[in-house]
């Protein structure tokens, strides 16, 4: 028997089309469950590798559309795809994809195991992240995944988990970027036709209640990326349409990330290495991801009062604790790295509205006499900001560096970041004695986990999560099983 091809379309579907698509997916779980892991993993890996290869027909077919829709430069897109797809390759260190499939198989086969959602961090003590909503007939049916448009290839993270859990899945692409998910699903099904009835990637205008009704009425799991208002609206409609049958609703709302650099980073090459990693965490995806670093907190050498008036960005060597010596040194190094990255990964077209916001910030810094290493707007903006309050970034690779007095501990970060609890996604951490038992880093992680941080890595690795990442503290298999 020939398997049907996947619903994979960049055209906007009608409510009738979506109803037929939902009906097919709702019945597809047994067939999907019958596919052996080995075949699924092999098809998955070949597809991922194809999309990682800029010369492959699959990549070439969507390259232009992706550059236009993501607003990234071609090189920035390339780096972004490497970051996202690199984490879901088969055979990489730690074998996260294979582990995900093995654990899902064990659970499906009835082995008891508690799927704990915990922060992906050394010794993290986070509570398990539990999907919202009632749990009724979610053992059957399909998952609807509503994607956002600011990151390319975001679809692969939920898709790999859904396949491991053998949950048929409907990927709803944003109308602004309908290309990647459809192309990926189509390519996957070409390599493994048995998947055709169990995966779909289509698009329609989000929030169109009439069009979405047949899908929400049948989806047993809804995973959605979006703003708070859109998520609340979607959740309410899913609850209404599902009634007593229940829906597992997993929202991924707006989040942001930061970096914390301790005193254990000596000047010179180690500091430069930290700066290089941070620059990557800032510049990747042009700072639009939830794992993009929006601010850096630096532990100074001792209690420090802010200097009365610092000279504006002259690049002169900083001196003394009271002048934020470490912060200024890191600012200089980070500026150098951002300048270099702007050549390697140029930013996409600069929007006037974003530029306006950053120019305001720059001029205000100048007026306040804050230290700002010289950078062209398109290279980024680094400011040593004595005010320790955290703020979302205006974008364009803009990073305030906040000096904090030593010793920098969890209580200090908690005090500063508590207003942002549950809006924080990741922390790039350096200079706290490395990762391991008994280090200062270990002492910081409970506080960060309590703030909702779900990912702690060294600088440079923050934006490259693998398939086991507990996005938002939620275990990926717990979403789909």
């Amino acid at each position: 028997m020939t398997s049907p091809g996947p619903w994979a379309s960049t055209a906007v579907l009608s409510a009738d089309d979506l109803a037929r698509c939902a009906e097919r997916l709702a019945a597809a779980r047994p067939a999907l469950a019958a596919i052996p892991d080995e075949r699924l993993l092999a098809a998955w890996n070949r597809t991922v590798e194809a999309f990682l290869d800029p010369r492959s027909p699959e990549r070439r077919a969507i390259q232009g559309d992706l550059v236009r829709s993501t607003g990234l430069s071609p090189a920035g897109l390339e780096a972004g795809l490497e970051s996202v797809l690199g984490g879901v390759r088969v055979g990489i260190r730690g074998r996260p994809v294979e582990e995900l499939f093995a654990e899902a198989r064990a659970l499906r086969e009835g082995e008891q195991g508690r799927i704990a959602g915990a922060a992906e961090s050394p010794g993290a003590g986070a509570e398990p992240g539990e999907p919202e909503g009632t749990e009724t007939d979610s053992t059957d049916g399909f998952a609807l995944v509503v994607l956002a448009s600011n990151l390319p290839a975001l679809a692969v993270q939920p898709l790999v988990a859904a396949l491991a859990a053998r949950r048929p899945v409907l990927l709803k692409s944003p109308t602004a970027e309908p290309v990647f998910a459809a192309a990926f699903v189509r390519a996957l099904a070409e390599r493994l036709p048995a998947l055709g009835g169990a995966v779909a990637a289509v698009t329609w205008p989000g929030g169109d209640a009439e069009r979405e009704a047949p899908v929400l009425a049948r989806a047993t799991v809804v995973v959605a990326y979006g703003g708070d208002e859109a998520l609340a609206d979607l959740a309410a409609r899913a609850r209404t349409l599902r009634g007593d049958r229940g829906t597992r609703f997993v929202p991924y709302g707006p989040k942001t990330s930061l970096a914390v650099v301790g005193r254990d980073v000596p000047p010179g090459a180690p500091l430069d290495a930290v700066a290089a990693g941070l620059a990557r965490d800032v510049a990747l995806f042009d700072q639009r991801g939830c794992l993009s670093v929006a601010a850096v907190y630096v532990e100074e050498d001792g209690p420090a009062d802010p200097p009365a008036g610092e000279a504006p960005g002259t690049g002169s060597a900083p001196t003394g604790v009271g002048e934020h010596r470490r912060s200024r040194a890191l600012a200089d190094a980070l500026a150098r790295e951002l300048r270099a990255l702007a050549r390697r990964w140029p930013p996409g077209p600069i929007g006037a509205a974003e530029a306006a916001a950053v120019q305001q910030m720059r001029a205000e810094a100048e007026l306040r006499g804050l230290y700002r290493p010289p950078l062209a707007l398109r290279e980024g903006t680094v400011v040593v900001e004595p005010d320790s309050g955290f703020q979302a970034t205006p974008g364009l690779r803009t990073v305030p560096i906040h000096p904090l007095p030593a010793p920098l501990d969890g209580a200090c970060l908690t005090e500063i970041l508590t207003p942002w609890r549950d809006r924080l996604q990741g922390v790039a951490l350096a200079g706290f004695g490395g990762v391991g038992s008994g280090t200062r880093a270990e002492a910081l992680t409970p506080a960060l986990a309590a703030l909702g941080v779900s990912r702690i890595t060294p600088p440079g690795a923050l934006q490259s999560p693998d398939a086991r990442w507990h996005n938002g503290g939620v275990e990926p298999l717990a979403v789909f099983l």
């Binding site: 008036g309 120019q359 320790s388 309050g389 906040h402 942002w420």
Partner: protein, 441 residues
Amino acid sequence: MEGLESAATTVAADLVERIRRFVRAAGAGTPGDSIATPDAGCDTFDTLVREAFAYQVSHIAPVRALAAARGIGPDDVHTWRDVPAVPALAYKSQDLLPDDVDPARVLTFRSSGTLSRTGSRAAAGGTTGTLPGEARRSVHRHPFPSLYRETIDAAFPGSCLPRRSGLHTSSPGAEGSPGADRSPGAEPALSDAVPMLSLIPARADVPDSSLSFMVNHVLERWGAAGSATVLGPAGLNADAAAAWVRAAGGPGNSAGPTGPVDRTGGEPPRPCLVLATGLALAGWLERLEEADTVCPLPPGSVVFETGGSKGRSHALGRAELLAAVARRLAVPPERVVREYGMTELTSQLYTRVLTGGDPDLFMPPPWVRVHVLDPETLDEAAPGTLGLVAIFDLANLGSAVHLLTEDLGVLEEGGLRLAGRARGAALRGCSLTAEEMMAPR
């Protein structure tokens, strides 16, 4: 409030007075880079530019710091363009009040929005970070209210007030300009007073609103007896608005002499002025639409519409709003005046629609200059191209005469066409909407 003027020192008071004279004499002239001395007793614009900058460098620390960072002193300023532009963001973080005025005797204006939270982290300089989704408010402590009023007196009537005939001419200095039938600053004759209906909260309700300050002044100076404010802490009183319009005697209304707008028997109804933010106006019109009723204003009436609702928007698009104004209030689009102003400035820009001007082109008064800067380089943008709006307002002596706004626009024929605002810092991680992605670049 009049006593507040004594907040100024002798030096400031002298400069304020000279700028007031310039504003009064310039009236509603034509903007340009170099205007002639409007009156033999007045300083030139460029002279006042230099002196205003020198005053601010001497007495306003953040301006002094910015000038020092740019290496610009008063002697380096030859035209208004030479004055460093202070970012609007500075009104959210810095005290821009001159050090030679009495801080207890100034007006304090705040922009709409939510207050930032101030934390207690002191060791590293304190924390004033905002909460997710929060916007910090601008604070403009204004030491020279007489100057503020002078700019209103000089610019508002010619751009916004309906004339008794309901007609305006396009010739500055003729009918419709402040100097045509009354000398600027003079009390209007009772017969010149205009019935006004305000959908802008009274100053008593929002004492920190610069818009309410301005509208309060307009009502006091030109409002006819019976003029009313129908928007208060409880929201819009639509019934009161409808009753007021009926009394104003528009088409189909049978107003009696005892109505809120005082008319003596036999007189034709006087053209009215409705003052509103776009948000309030849209809210009123939506209620009229829902009730399927009309509130026709007398012929020649004018609707004055301003922003005043940063961060919030109404469902009506511009064309829909104008159509609804025509349908429900009987005021045609060519009698809907728009204002562009902000808490951080003293002067306002208006469309000159009543004299046949472009309905979306904001024209600066003669003591104000506007330019548009390339968003990436901050160099002057080529005419007709989108950029950041910077405004030089001579009347903004008490904080920053040259302001880099957060607005985007295009300069056309000496006027400004707005095209959006800076995209503020926002959480967008993995959740950027399609609409945001499609926003103009």
